[in-house]
Structure formats: structure tokens, C-alpha cells
């Protein structure tokens, strides 16, 4: 009786969901982040539901199983536009293919699993260390003497190596994160070596999934396209990226506001969007997003900035922008904005300035029904797309992140778009 009362009370709370994003899973993520009855969490230990959104390639099934087994009982899984793992197909998991039906399905599954009306997801892996114990010594230190060894397959904290920042040498800590780590791009897996909380080494093990763009950028590549629509899509892209940075900064209400503005880009008037964005930008400054949180490091050198292109290059003083060569944009008085520093903070200043510029351009374009004049080239929010779409640039993280503190490294990753552009447009 008491348990039943407790379960009923528990079921009234928000559905706590750990999102494991596969290919093209972001759309579901952004919709759910706005839903008041759904709480997206960063650790599988803090969830009652595992949402697998988008396709997961077979080579990532094993990491997915490991994430799955970290959820504390009682829990269940939902698969959005994704094929459930073979061993779960017999367990009667919920599969949803409609984005409109997904939030309700999650809330319903959360309530049912807590009330015991839905079968609990079974464990998929044997509950034992992934690697055998290979240590020596009575204290289980794992190696010969106090040096080396790989207890449970993990290297021990090793004697100090040269510190990259202040000369204070600490033991190094090696671990792998990803490919379903929610605080960096979906699909990215990396081996990280830290000394204290300073990144000593960052080795990319698997690249992030290509990111799906709005179909308007594909249309603009093929034929003349309304500039107002293109710029609205650009604003939406940057505001969605800002959601992640604000979440990292511990500003959930501003993250939510950024996303709400992003989702309003398709339907609100430009005047309303401009007003909303101005208020929002003031809040960002007042609440210490730049002064307290964003680091002035993660500076791209010219080679990396050119390789990455787009706003990241412009934030580093490289003024390349395909819109300058388009007659339609020239008629609207477009000129490229740029910064000089090329660091994490200036990338966000650049992005915010570009959002404001895009809204101004959209307002002018709407008055004249302006369209693009050039085909076969388009300035996507990720960079210029001429013969090839902007490709993956995650390898540059290996050069960029060593020497940064962990929080600075994550803020730097959030300020960049290292995933390539998918060949498929967003649905």
C-alpha cells in the first residue's frame, strides 16, 4: 500500500530522460527540451527513461548497451526513429516514429514504469568489470610495485608528467567519453588524459555524426531561394547551438529561452524576433555568460580557422563569407562581420552578432522579396558549401584542447561546430 502510494506520487513528477542521440536525433532532442513535463538529464544514473533518438550504427551498439545498463531500475527505453537492439526487441520496448507523439509517449512510459504497469528493461551485459583484474600485490594496486599496471583494464594514475599550465605536476587520469556523452556532439568519442583537471591529451576515437541542416540550405544550393527564409534558418541554427552552451553555463532558463526563440524562427514576425533577441542578448551579458563563464582560450590558429570556415573563421579575423559574392545579398547591403581574437568568447560574440545581422537582413529581404542570385554555392551556418559540404573537423580538437581546464575544454567544444554537414536535410 505504502509502496503503491509512493510510486503514484513519484509518477506525478517530470519524466527524467537520458537522450542517447544517433544520426538525425537532434530534432527530437530540441522538441523535448522545451516540454515542461520532460527533464533531459546528463547522466544515465539520473534517468528513468533511455531515449534512443535517430539511427545508431552497429559499431556503436556495444557503447549503447553500456549506457543502457547504467540506468537504475525501474527504467525502460524508447526508440525514436531507431531500430531497437535485438535483445530488447523481445522485451516489448516502445518504438515511436512520430515527433508529435514522442513527448506524450515518454511521459506515459515514465508514469507506467514507476507504477509497475510497464515491463522494466532487462540488463543486457553481465554485471562484471569489462576487463579482468590483472593486478599484483596485496593491496590490489594492480601492477608491479607501485608503478604501472592496468587494474580492470584501466591504466593506473601514473607518476607526474610535465604540467602544461603552472608547473604543478599531478597524477594523470585516463578515461574515455562518448559516443553518447550529452555535453558534446553526438557520436564523438574521445580518450582523454587529464592532469588534475587540465587536459593533457585529447584523442578522437570516433567522429561526431554528420549534422542535418535545414532543407532551405539545400534548396539555396540548387536554385534561387528567399533570403528571409535562409536567414531565419541561420538564426535558428545558432540559437540551438547556444542552448547547449547556456546549459553548460548553468543557466537553464536562458537555455530554454534560446531554444524557444529558435523554435519561433519559422513562425514569428521578424520584428518580434528582433525584440526578443535584443532582450535575450542583454540578459546574457547581465548574467555573466561572458564575464564569468566563457573562457578566453581555445584560440584557433589561422590554419585551423581556415579549415573550419564559417563563423569560427570570421571570429578569428578571416572575413570569408559566400554571401558577399551573391548579388541578392549585396543589394541588401550585406558586409561580413568579424572579430580578431579567435577564442571561445569571441566565437560566441561573433555568433550573436551574426544572429542580429541575419535578423536585419531577413527584415530587409522580406520587404523586397529578395532571393539569392547564385546557385552551386551557399554560406551555411557551418561554413561555405561549394563543391563539397563542410566536412568533419573534430580532429582539430586534439590540437586545441590540451592545456585547457575541463570546463574550458567543454565550453570550447560547445563554441565550435566540428561535425560535418549531413547529406540529408533535416526532416
Amino acid at each position: 500500500m505504502a509502496v503503491s502510494w509512493l510510486s503514484r506520487l513519484a509518477a506525478r513528477g517530470p519524466a527524467t530522460v537520458f537522450p542517447a542521440l544517433g544520426m538525425q536525433g537532434e530534432e527530437a532532442f530540441y522538441q523535448l527540451a522545451l516540454h515542461p513535463e520532460i527533464e533531459l538529464v546528463d547522466s544515465p544514473r539520473h534517468a528513468s527513461l533511455l531515449l534512443v533518438a535517430g539511427g545508431v550504427p552497429p559499431e556503436l551498439h556495444e557503447p549503447l548497451r553500456r549506457v543502457h545498463d547504467q540506468l537504475p531500475a525501474p527504467f525502460t527505453t524508447l526508440w525514436y526513429q531507431s531500430e531497437p537492439l535485438l535483445e530488447l526487441q523481445q522485451a516489448g520496448v516502445v518504438r515511436v516514429d512520430s515527433l508529435e507523439a514522442l513527448p506524450d509517449a515518454l511521459v506515459d512510459a515514465h508514469r507506467k514504469v514507476l507504477r509497475g504497469e510497464l515491463g522494466v528493461s532487462p540488463r543486457l551485459l553481465v554485471d562484471e568489470p569489462p576487463n579482468p583484474w590483472r593486478g599484483l600485490g596485496d593491496d590490489g594496486h594492480g601492477g608491479e610495485g607501485m608503478m604501472g599496471g592496468v587494474p580492470y583494464g584501466r591504466p593506473m594514475a601514473m607518476p607526474p608528467t610535465q604540467d602544461l599550465r603552472d608547473g604543478l605536476a599531478l597524477d594523470t587520469l585516463t578515461f574515455r567519453l562518448g559516443p553518447f556523452f550529452p555535453l558534446w556532439p553526438a557520436g564523438l568519442e574521445a580518450e582523454v588524459i587529464l592532469q588534475g583537471d587540465i587536459v593533457q591529451q585529447f584523442s578522437v576515437q570516433s567522429r561526431p555524426f554528420p549534422r542535418a541542416m535545414s532543407p532551405v540550405f539545400f534548396d539555396a544550393w540548387e536554385h534561387a531561394m528567399s533570403i528571409a527564409r535562409l536567414e531565419r534558418a541561420r538564426v535558428q541554427y545558432h540559437l540551438r547551438a547556444l542552448f547547449h552552451a547556456l546549459h553548460l553555463a548553468g543557466l537553464p532558463d536562458l537555455a530554454w529561452r534560446a531554444l524557444r526563440l529558435a523554435e519561433a524562427c519559422d513562425r514569428q514576425t521578424i520584428t518580434a524576433l528582433e525584440k526578443g533577441f535584443k532582450d535575450f542578448e542583454r540578459c546574457l551579458k547581465r548574467r555573466g555568460f561572458f564575464a564569468l563563464h566563457l573562457p578566453t582560450c581555445g584560440t584557433l590558429n589561422t590554419e585551423h580557422a581556415e579549415a573550419l570556415g564559417g563563423f569560427a573563421a570570421r571570429a578569428a579575423g578571416i572575413e570569408g563569407d559566400a554571401r558577399r559574392d551573391d548579388e541578392g545579398y549585396r543589394r541588401l547591403g550585406f558586409s561580413a562581420i568579424s572579430q580578431q581574437a579567435g577564442d571561445t568568447q569571441s566565437r560566441w560574440r561573433q555568433r550573436l552578432a551574426e544572429v542580429a545581422q541575419s535578423l536585419t537582413l531577413a527584415a530587409r529581404a522580406q520587404q523586397n522579396d529578395a532571393v539569392t542570385a547564385t546557385t552551386g554555392v551557399v554560406e551555411t551556418p557551418r561554413g561555405v558549401w561549394r563543391d563539397e559540404r563542410p566536412g568533419d573537423a573534430s580532429a582539430l580538437l586534439e590540437k586545441l584542447l590540451p592545456g585547457l581546464e575541463w570546463g574550458e575544454a567543454l565550453a570550447t567544444i560547445a563554441s565550435l561546430d566540428v561535425a560535418g554537414v549531413s547529406q540529408w536535410a533535416r526532416p
Binding site: 513528477g13 548553468g250 555573466g288 563563464h293
Partner: protein, 308 residues
Amino acid sequence: MILDQLIWPLLLVFATLGGGVYLLAVLDGLAARSFGLPQAQSVWLLPLSRGAWLLSQQANVTEAPDWWGWRLAPALYLTLAAIGLALVPWSRDWVATDITTSLVLWGSVEALATVVIFLQGWSANTHLALIGAYRYVALGLSYILISMFVLIGVTLPAESLALTQVVASQQELWNVLRQPLGLPLFLIVGLSITFRGPFNLADSTDLAGGTSVEVSGPQRLVWEFARSAMLVAFSGIATTAFLGGWLGPWLPGPLWVMLKMLAVLAILAWLGRWFARITPERCISLMWLALLPLSFIDLIWAGVEALL
């Protein structure tokens, strides 16, 4: 004897713990709503359903944790918060633990909190939790020093280390006016030791939850409860040390203490949501280069004022 010295004090501490933590959760929900965040349900019900959800969950296990440390750390943090609350005088005679060195005991609570928070992060035997623990240890000393300097400041006019005497010394003028730097500095320490808002570096989002990233179920409930309880204890000490404790017109003393504690908690809940999280390097600089010198000035101010 047993009733006066054991049962009533225990009941008082438990009631303040339960009621204070619940009201803090409600205030935090109201703060979230005032910032425009939509709520799934009433702010009064949300803390209860969250507690019930965590109680219904399994307490998970990591690979080769330090079992004793991992299971005990949340309970130890809660115990420290309870010790802090036991020191808060609700009136001249109504104090759970009225000792002559209550401010020294509070200082030890702050110092031991560093050990317990490190234990929570370290004993899970996982990387992100360990980074959270490292961060707290790196910053904890600066928090404690600031707290100690401002609290020594309030003992000077009282000429005593007992919190009841500190309240009595504010009969004519509250310390918040007598030593204007003290309360703001102490509130910052409160946010830091309970790692909330801009100073949430141990359990932060960039660590996916930091020291509690691997914790679920009842163990997580105790940890979250203990963090809130520590903030309630902080508000109690702040009320006593700077806001005149039970002193106030018309209303009974305990009611004044409660109202002042709620006001402090509301300010802390709002401040915790207003600012972005500071980077560890900026936090170190802020503490050692700005706030610690300010706490020296506060102490000198208090000393000069006591001599005059």
C-alpha cells in the same frame, strides 16, 4: 532532563531540517518560475514527487567503489548540516546545543564539509566525480578562510564565541549594518560550500553532475537533501550572526528567526539562478584576490569599531 537536553533539541533540529529543506525546494521552484522556466507541476508538490521518485529508484553500484566512503558521504554531509542547525538559537533559551564555543564548532563543520565532499566524489571510483572532488578541495580552503574572518568579526562586539551572545550583542544595532561587508561575504560562502549557482563547481553541468554523477536512488536523495540542509544551516547562522537572530518587535523570537532564515534562503535561491557558473580559475582569483582581502577589511572594521 532527558526531555530538555535530548528529546526537544533533537526534535527541533529534525523539524528544521525537514521543514527548511522542503521550503528551500519550494523557494527554488518559485525562483525558477520567476525566471520563466515552466514547471511540470505545483512548486509545493514537485519536491515531494522528486523525493518519492528517488526513493523508488535503485541505488546503483559503480565498478569497485570505496563502499564505506560512498555510502557514508551523503549521510556525513547531512550530519554536518544537522550539527550546524543545532547551534542556531531560536530564542535566548531555546537552543538545541548552547555551548560557549558554538562559532568554533561551526568553523569545524565548514572544514569537515571539504573532507566529506571529497569523499563523495572520490569514492565512486569514476572520472567525472573525481574531477568534481578535486575542484572542491582546490577551492574549499578559500571559502573557509573568508567565512572564518567574517565570523571572527561578529565575535568582537559580542566578546564571546557563543552564538547566543552574538545575538545579544546586536540588541542596539544588527551586525548587517554594523559590519556591512560581513553578510554579503558570508552569503557567497554559503553558495560556495553548498556548491550552488555560480559556485557550483563540484556538482556542475560540465561534469554531468560532478560528485553525484554516478549516484542514484535513495543515496542521491540523501545527498541532495544534505546540500539543501547545509544551506538551511547557513541561513540559520547568517540570521544569528548578522540579522539579529530572535530580535525583533511584535512577533515571538522563533518566528523572527524563521522569517529571517526564509528571507536569506530566498535571496540565495534567486542569486543561485541569476549568475552563470564561474570558471574554476576565475573563482580562485575572485576568492583570493577580491573576497579574502574584503574579509580582512571587514575584520579590521569590526576591530576598530569594537575599540571605539
